[in-house]
Amino acid sequence: MKFYHFSEMPYTEISQVDQDKYRGMRAFVPNKLYDPVRGYELYQRYLDEYELADELGFNLMLNEHHQSATGLQVSATMSAATIGARTRRGRLALLGIPLPHHENPLHVAEEVAYLDITTGGRVDCGFVRGTPPEAYPSNLNPIYNQDQFYEAADLIVKAWTERDLFSWEGKFYNYRYVSVWPRPLQQPHPPVWVTASAPSLIIWTAQHGYNLAFLIGREEDTAAIFRIYRRAATDFGLPEPGPDKFGSMVATYVADSEAKAYDVGRKLMWYFETFHERQRATVTPGFFSPHKSVDALRGKLGSIRKLSFEGLIDAGVVVCGTPDQVVKQITRLYEQTGVGHLLCMDHVGEMTSNEVRESMSLFSREVMPAVASLGEQWEDDDIGWRMANDTTPIGSTLASSVS
């Protein structure tokens, strides 16, 4: 199993009064609430934590949001460039680049190729649809989000792999002469990741042999999503996918005692509680099917936000406790889902830098060595998620996710 450090890099100084006034922390919050000096301190802190994570043996996960106080990473490629220059070892997992919100996919292809070269081939490139409210900052039509995602991904991969000039006259992107310089260092291209919870996107990801990540959801939903992928991949004639194809995010805090772990770990709840947005911003028109939109209207999506702290640990959404407890939780997560890449949200909200550093250090010292071998010999493991053993029907309810 491989481990990744992640922080959304939140701006944590928005008062509850302002969160209520502006209906959440994304898309519609005026930047008069942002203090440039405080922002400087936060960026330095977060980047330092990434640097420490690299030294501790974590890989590094970056993402991208726009006009959002919940995440100050404005460009996954810029974050990766900055952190890539400060580090030497960890892989840079861009999870991900919201393709439908970039006007020019060829710029994405160029930037990722540049990044791959300048970091010595450390890039994992994630393609994502972007969260629904991203449609407001980008003003790109959410109706086309899914179709644009597919076309942009196809165009980028073709730009990385095609050796001659080509033209692209698609529905959304139109270029007469394409041949992207430079080429990525990793050939034919960096590993591609996709985040998905909808079956159609999971199946597309499997068909292309891309890796699949699921960001924050119940263990059973993670298992259900990976199950769809495994069956689709083999339906397409690909070999049974192993843990290396799958990533899953958990919010993480480890401490020497259970009391301390729970005391500080409760700060992880910030991620699940700071969410009272305009209903129409979380269900932008056409982003979901009409019936899934009704589910969202009735509060059936993102149901994990209603869980207690203990409930989140039970559901495998939060990994928290002493090193022994956390080893057990991660082992269970592997056994239940077959995940091979654990994306650790080591920092949330108002956790102090010392708290984050202590937890990451302890995780590196006592958790990583105990679970690193999980999945290494998966082909010899007679384990529940293996296709020969897994008779669970494909499920249709993947509604707990918040991403």
Binding site: R278, Q279, R280, A281, V283, P290, L297
Partner: protein
């Protein structure tokens, strides 16, 4: 009083977003006196395969024009409200000879303000309560409106339909938001008699937007008092009189006993 008149020509009314389909408000009374047609915009009200690839109000305009031609009807009176007003304008500039008159009710479709001002309320973002507040002089009078989550006791199927309607609206009007700059270039070709009707309390559009549009296209302008974005729902009697007065000034419409 059906049967007391012989409407000279058909009146085509193009509906707004968020308004329930059919002869609501003043349209019921109008239907008794004229040959009123209430066509549905493809994509609204039910799934339409025909419009799966459409992405602009021009597509809707071409569709409605093609239906009129297919029906072989003589030139008609065209009325469009809100989003339907935008469609009506697009139809009018394409085939001005197709229409005896053009009546616009607080229409979207033409941006009149500067680049750092908005002309139209964000009906794709705001909550139902916010939209009712903007769209009605007195939101307690709200009737004939359907949005995702409104009325609050709608069943899942009805709300799913409302979400699909909002998706259709986004398909046609997301960017630029609820207008097309190409339309503004061709407003000069409108030569038929033109009327713009607006409520004095319509905050779905920028202040005086409808009055300024009327000036721009050389239309008569009627402002209805104590009235928001849906005059045919909020002030049906005043709306009926204004429309009938205009139509009959340019046709034989309603000149029988029922007028």
């Amino acid at each position: 009083m059906p049967g007391t008149t012989s409407p000279a020509r058909r009146v085509v009314f193009l509906h707004d977003a968020d308004v329930v389909p059919g002869p609501v408000g003043a349209l019921q009374r109008l239907a008794e006196i004229v040959d009123l047609s209430l066509p549905r915009h493809p994509g609204f009200g039910e799934f339409d395969e025909v419009c799966e690839d459409w992405d602009s109000v021009s597509d809707l305009a071409m569709w409605h024009l093609s239906r009129l031609d297919a029906d072989g009807v003589e030139p008609v009176h065209l009325v469009g409200a809100g989003f339907g007003g935008w469609v009506a304008l697009e139809m009018g500039v394409r085939r001005p000879e197709r229409f005896v008159s053009l009546t616009l009710v607080s229409p979207f479709g033409v941006k009149l303000s500067g680049r750092d001002e908005t002309d139209f309320a964000d009906l794709l973002l705001l909550d139902p309560e916010e939209l009712l507040e903007l769209g009605w002089a007195d939101s307690s009078r709200a009737t004939g409106i359907r949005m995702p989550g409104y009325p609050p006791d709608e069943d899942d199927e009805a709300d799913a339909r409302s979400f699909a309607d909002r998706a259709a609206l986004a398909r046609y009007g997301w960017r630029p938001f609820m207008y097309d700059p190409r339309l503004a270039r061709w407003l000069g070709v409108l030569t038929m008699p033109r009327l713009v009707i607006a409520g004095d309390s319509d905050r779905m559009l920028a202040p005086d937007h409808s009055r300024r549009l009327a000036d721009r296209i050389g239309a008569e302008f009627v402002e209805l008092a104590d009235c928001g974005h849906f005059p045919y729902l909020e002030q049906p009697d005043a709306f009926y009189s204004a429309v009938l007065g205009f139509l009959s000034a340019h046709d034989e419409v309603g000149k029988g006993d029922a007028a």
